[in-house]
Symmetry: D2
Subunit: 375 residues, 4 copies
């Protein structure tokens, strides 16, 4: 059991989540590598010091470069705004340190592509943070599909919908500007990643993206509020996805339905401990969607609780990510989802943007690659 | 209280439903006109006689022309296959008799257009049978939207999904052939009609339609299994619809979600006595979708039962249709939805077919008309 | 196909329901006997005339005795207040006419006992109106249990809860007085009947009954608002029932859960077209309660609709009752549930009242009889 | 920010849960005291060493007395079998160390009483582990009730049902013996504690407790499988509770319904991130139970996640317990629920056992005390 010094860049929403996860992951999963909260970086020395105190880091810095270069920091978690991802990745590569990056991969498709190039050229262990796909329910869904339990796939529908920007009176904060902060940059990647993981590579898309509230408090909104994609997967399956930050009433509407010739699966992250399965077998009179509560019989559940139906939560998803990141570091080999998997997602977003602008069906680039490291 | 002689053409699924509805509607709604089951027509004298005996008609015939021309038949219900709709309508017009026609309006867009022309030229009271929009829940949803309870609309999603053809081993019956019998002809009209009623006219569509199981028992399937439509309503709202007869696990997946700036509505016909409403008001901690059980406080419920939550069913929708058809006859004026409303639906289906074939966004014709008789 | 003249006493809630049912049942079930709405009786000539006009009866009377004695009335439906049930039954017996009586059987246990004696002495076809047990879901639940699908029974929980009297500001109408109008007289019989039908005779009860709002508008309430029963069925199963008319938020909370060694069943009348089944079989990871939508595969559904998940409603339950009453008349033999079955229910209510008053476990009388005509 | 050395006795189900919680609680809640995993005790040196390695304790011991007496252990968590609780408590008192004890408080009511005496005499900070009442939803439910949102309470129904012993083929392990390991000892305390927290002290109970499967694999089962309690709270509210370990299909059926004159609350731990609220206000047509997803607007949620509907899980409940235990230590004053609160629960269990044996309504002792430290 060896310790590993962790440096986290960013102490907000995701920075804290990763700090908690790194504190708990060893006890939960009995990991070979045990994280030590070595340093946290933030936009100022003072805020970094506050984060260090709150989360239990040994040290802090207002300059992320110091964190990356610090010899006691042996792995870097990027939880800072998208526009910083590329430069931090370059520095991590220069320092030869494993890197975990929150989604979206970069602030732009060009950034994302370069980030993949950088980590692959440097042979760096790398991972991207799509946490919702980490639940026991999600892994079980993937397993059911892979095992053919629902037969040949015929339809996929996914959503990532929230309502934090549904009220037109909400002001134009940083959320209102920058492609990476819009709905397609911020929410869509999660569900696109789920689609790739559940169904496989996407061949082409037909999208429509729009800004529902074009002005907030007199300030023009310069990114998108919602978008939809009709898609055709490489395996021929037809699908649809919808993303929105103005979906009044939806709090964590990360949901999908997968239909096959022998059954179907439904999932909604708002009840992340249930997965609904229909099997077209047995007497017609006894057929119906069953609500399966996750439990020790499902992947990655038992380390959190021995009792079925007792439930895992948001924070546990991040702990599972931490487990995989540590395992990848120990093995010296990236695990799914890597930066390249994140780029696959970005390529779909990019194709959707082009499709919406040109109003035509659009091929997704590099689709041969999509999902290639699916576990 | 005057009697009216009813003639029903067709004694199958919908023919029986209308016969039961005509038997019950007077007692339920205390209608001014009281139906008398005068005659039923079927494909043979023998089957028609069986239907007459079973459903309680006074007389029967194997020739629908006799029914239309019979002086004791004062109103005609068309519940025969789509390819017969036009000719029967012509005969009813010639006889000057009110006509109720099951959806889809005709076997083709041309038939549908001609049917509208015929009834309008003849000044005939006419109605088309979109029954699912008749539930107390559906009428309440329309009222909530019209009253602005959920604010300005921002998104619509609808589905009509069933699984009667999900099993690839199901044989190629009449269902496998003829545009009117495919998913876009048979299921899509219901949900498109709901979209027009709830949101308003559709301006343009981008569709993809496909045959999932191209061969059944060695026989080529010549119509479609599922289809999806991205649409833009005339009022600017973005929407999506999905239709499928191969949606494993779905039995009556006629469902929709309407999102507005102040709230949202969800409905699923599989639980037709509930409507889910979210209102973005009151303390954040107390907000959530509420499950409203239909009751006497909702439109058209009380005549069926004085107790809330006691529930109406499929047959009751047909009784409500019968009430409106009788009221239209009495008033001498068509009520929503008329043949022209049915044509509006057919125009959307037609535009979707063209869009799917040409793979481009396609304008819906005559959209000025859509929904114009919305009640 | 022979006609039968129906006389209905009472034109309110249940009187109308039976009038509609008698109008529709022939067409729905192709019954051998076809009802003719011959006469309706109400508390005055005028109100009876109004009911006759509204519901389509040929004649009306302000004196129910005339109705019972009228030669064209061949079967009597009692939908008048409980205190009239006994006397009407006596008159029907004197006239030798089949009788259908709404629950509760009589205004008191003594009345109920005498009613059974009267109809049995007269050899009259008789039936009591427990409509909620008539749904396709309820009959399917009984079948699952009888077939051993959920194994040996270990637990039963039932509720009949509504909220029409939850608001303390509701005035003291007829509902506030008379044992038969209280919660134990009005609501409890439905669920007790379900318990007997699903599980079998009840041996003993331990009950607590109370008046939640003892005064309404300054008037003392003289009957009960809610009650609970712990019970032991004759077959050894432990159970519990709760009844309330002050259950804020419950509209039609007629719900039950039956647990067995191999599975479990859940049902809630507020979604009467679903039944939830859990089977302790197959991989642990795939187990869960499944929501089965009623359809043609379930008892008595297909006559109402050929499509699964399309749903039956409250009125359809009354139509199913009418079907059985007509069949009993034709066969000359009472079908479940007869007056005696209604008395079994009354005996449980009576035992519960005694138990609550004396605060001790109390044997149910004549339990040998309970459920003996279970179909 | 001061460190505190934690010693945990027991490394199984709950021992691990507390180890993880103590690892994470500082980062989650920014606690003043920061736990250091100092020592774990188990039944042997070897197993304790394995736990220490897995969970990250500095040291381990096969003798819990060493742990209690170790100077670096500053607080003791008891997660060992119930029969050890009393002796460990005595030792902790002798050493003057704060103690957290898993439920049930002791192996018997006598043990529980003595444990309270010991900690109170020693002035020890003490806490008992009722974790399910710690969810954001549970605290919100208590707040809604306290704030009068649902008016005057009229009914309470609670369940704690699981199915781990539903299969009669399950062998007679330790679970089959010992009152503390039976359903009333193991499951009932959680829901009784919830009842006391939500409604208040219980005055009297009428219970029935039984062993469903009296023999397992030829071995007699000597404790109970399920039990039910009718109860009367001190404030006059009527209630019912059911507990079972043979409730086929239930995985974490810790659920309750609280009815009041102005509203009602429903909760089911199987979906711990939802709470259902009905308010009898606004238009009748818009009333219904609303599903509120927990979020930052609810107690104790935000430290786990900034996004509503993202969900907390089982492990997070234990982290919240740890937060309160640390706060109590820092303040030098026990917080709810203390050992005395645990004794209140045990008194209800004891009264239920007597009631079931004697088949009479039974007073709960010391009810004046119940819930007195309710937060």
């Amino acid at each position: 059991m060896a310790e590993i010094g962790i440096g986290i860049i960013g102490g907000g929403y995701m920075g804290k989540a990763h700090a908690v996860a790194m504190s708990a992951v060893g006890a939960v999963f009995n990991t070979a590598l045990r994280p030590r909260l070595e340093m946290v970086a933030a936009s100022s020395d003072a805020s970094a010091a506050r984060y260090a105190q709150a989360f239990g880091f040994a040290r802090s810095t207002g300059d992320w470069k110091q964190l990356v270069e610090d010899p006691a920091v042996e792995a870097v978690v990027i939880a800072s705004p998208p526009e910083t991802h590329l430069e931090i990745t370059r520095a991590a590569a220069a320092a030869g340190k494993p890197v975990f990056c929150e989604k979206p991969l970069g602030a732009s498709i060009a950034d994302a592509q370069e980030m993949v190039g950088v980590v692959e050229a440097a042979g760096l262990v790398n991972m991207i943070g799509f946490n919702y796909i980490r639940t026991p329910a999600a892994r079980f869904a993937r397993q059911l599909i892979a095992d053919g339990v629902i037969g040949d796939l015929t339809w996929f529908r996914g959503e990532h919908t929230e309502d934090f920007y549904a009220d037109p009176q909400e002001p134009a904060t940083w959320r209102a500007h920058g492609a990476a902060n819009g709905c397609m940059g911020d929410l869509a990647p999660h569900m696109i990643n789920a689609a790739l993981a559940l169904i496989g590579p996407i061949g082409s898309v037909m999208a429509e993206i729009e800004t529902v509230h074009e002005s907030r408090g007199g300030v023009a909104v310069t990114n998108d509020d919602q978008g939809q994609i009709m898609c055709r997967f490489a395996n021929g399956v037809m699908g649809h996805m919808f993303f929105s930050r103005t979906a009044t009433g939806r709090k964590m509407g990360y949901l999908y339905e997968v239909t096959g010739t022998k059954g179907a699966i439904r999932f909604n992250q708002e009840d992340q401990n249930s997965i609904w399965l229909y099997k077209a077998e047995g007497p017609e009179a006894e057929r119906g969607f069953r609500q399966i509560l996750t439990g020790p019989a499902h992947p990655d559940y038992e380390p959190f609780c021995l009792g079925p139906g007792h439930g895992t939560g948001y924070q546990d998803q991040i702990i599972i990510e931490a487990r995989d990141f540590l395992a990848a570091i120990e093995a010296g080999k990236s695990l799914w989802p890597s930066f390249r998997d994140g780029l696959d997602v970005s390529q779909v977003v990019e194709a959707a943007r082009r499709s919406s602008a040109e109003r035509i069906w659009t091929q997704v680039e590099t689709r041969q690659r999509q999902g290639s490291t699916r576990s």
